[in-house]
Subunit: 211 residues, 2 copies
DNA sequence: ATATTTTTAGACACTATTGTCCAATTGGAC
DNA sequence: GTCCAATTGGACAATAGTGTCTAAAAATAT
C-alpha cells in the first residue's frame, strides 16, 4: 500500500494497528507537535476517543508507534539478512543483488522510512527512546552486516582491519545517492536501487576485495 | 558561540540578524509547527511585534531564515574549498587534512547543521525552497568536490569513471560515522573529526588512488 | 532640542488542539 | 435474543498560538 493512496483505511486490520499506522504517517509528515490526534483519527477511520482508550495520550501514542515500528523493522531486517552471500561464486554479482534488495527494503518499506524520519526529527524530544532504537535498531543492523562481512573476509573474499568500520562504510556507500537525491520526498524505483547498489558495491570491492 | 549557552542574545548584531538566528534554532529544535513566534522573540531578546514588522508572518520568517542560511553556508563552503589539495606531495595526508577541516565545518558550523536539519524536516512543507537549496546548496557543493577530484585524476593521483559519483561516495564515506553516531544531538570534537576523516580517506583512496 | 522612525508591552479576537465526559450505538460472545 | 465491552459522535473546558491594534517608550536623525 502506498502512503499517498492510503486514504481508505484497511478495514481488515485491528483498530489498534490502524491507529498506529495512521499515527506513524501523520507524525512523520507533520512532526510531533504538528500532528493532531484528530488527523490521526480521521486517517485511521476511527473516533478520537478510541485513540485515547488505546494509548492514553499523545505521548503514549508516539511511544507506541516507535515501539511497533522498531520491532517490525528489526524483524524485517533479520529476514533480509538471511540472503547475505557467504560463499559466493561471483562475489560482485551476488553482493550487488543482496545490496539492491537491502536498499529497496530501506527506501521502499514504509516502516523503515518512518522510523528513520522519526528518529531524525524527534530525537531531541525523546532521547531515551532513540538511544534504544539506535542500539537495537541501526546499531544492531550494522553489527549484523559487520558479522557477515567478517565471514566473507574469513572465507578469503575480503580484507580489512575493522569489520564495524567496513560495515558502516558499506552502508554509507549504499545509501549515498539515496540520501542526496531521494530523501526529499521521492523514492527510488527497483531499477534505481539496482543501479545504486551496483555502483556502491563496485567501489566497496575496489577498496576491500582481496587482491 | 554554542547553541546551548546562547541564551543571552548578542546585542552587537542587528535586530534582524538576531531574529533570524534565534528563529533558526527554534525551528530546528521544534520543527515548523512546534516553533512559536513567542519563543523566537524571547530567544532573540526582541518583542513579538518587531518580528512581524520585519518578516510579515511565520511563513515569511521561515523563508527568510532558510535564505539567510543558504547564502552563508555557500560562502563558507567556497572559502573552505580553496584549501583542496591540487598537486599534493603526500596525497593521503593532505586529503585527510582537508577532509578533517571539511567535516569539522559541516558538523560544528551552526549554519550547516541548521540548514541540514531544516532541509530534512521541512522539505515536505516547502518543496520549492529545498529544490533550490539542493541545487545551489548540496548539489553545488558536490559538483565543486567533483571538480577538484577530477583535477586530482587529471594530475595522475586518482582514477575513476564518474567524477560526480566519486564525489558523492567521498562525501558519504566522510559523513558515514557522523550520521550514525553523532546526528542525534552530539557533535564530534576536532579530534574525532580527524579520526573520521582519516578512516574515510583511507577507504576512498583504496578504491580510487591510481595504482 | 525636536521630529521621525523603530521598538515595546500588553490587550485582543480568533482559531486549533488536547484531553475529559457522557449518552447512544454497535458488534461479538454465549 | 441478551449481555458486555468496545466504539462513536458530540459537547465541553482549558490551554496555547497567530496575527492585529494601540499607546507609550526608546532610539535615531536633523
Amino acid at each position: 500500500m502506498d502512503i499517498e493512496t492510503a486514504e481508505t483505511p484497511d478495514l481488515a486490520k485491528s483498530k489498534r494497528d490502524r491507529i498506529l499506522e495512521a499515527a506513524a504517517t501523520v507524525f512523520c509528515q507533520d512532526g510531533y507537535t504538528g500532528a493532531s490526534i484528530d488527523a490521526v483519527a480521521t486517517k485511521a477511520g476511527v473516533s478520537r476517543q478510541t485513540i485515547y482508550n488505546h494509548v492514553g495520550d499523545k505521548d503514549g501514542l508516539f511511544k507506541d508507534v516507535v515501539a511497533a515500528l522498531t520491532e517490525k523493522s528489526a524483524a524485517n531486517f533479520l529476514l533480509l539478512m538471511e540472503d547475505f552471500p557467504e560463499r559466493p561464486e561471483n562475489l560482485e554479482a551476488e553482493l550487488t543483488a543482496f545490496s539492491a534488495r537491502l536498499l529497496n527494503h530501506v527506501t521502499q518499506n514504509k516502516t523503515s522510512r518512518w522510523l528513520l524520519k522519526l528518529a531524525e526529527n524527534e530525537s531531541g524530544r525523546y532521547p531515551e527512546l532513540f538511544t534504544v532504537w539506535r542500539e537495537f535498531g541501526s546499531g544492531r543492523k550494522r553489527s549484523m552486516v559487520a558479522a557477515q562481512l567478517s565471514q566473507l573476509a574469513l572465507n578469503g573474499y575480503l580484507e580489512f582491519d575493522d569489520a564495524a568500520l567496513a560495515a558502516r562504510q558499506y552502508l554509507a556507500l549504499l545509501t549515498a545517492e539515496w540520501r542526496t537525491e531521494f530523501q526529499l520526498g521521492r523514492f527510488p524505483s527497483e531499477e534505481e536501487c539496482a543501479g545504486m547498489a551496483e555502483r556502491a558495491v563496485k567501489t566497496f570491492l575496489r577498496a576491500f576485495a582481496r587482491r
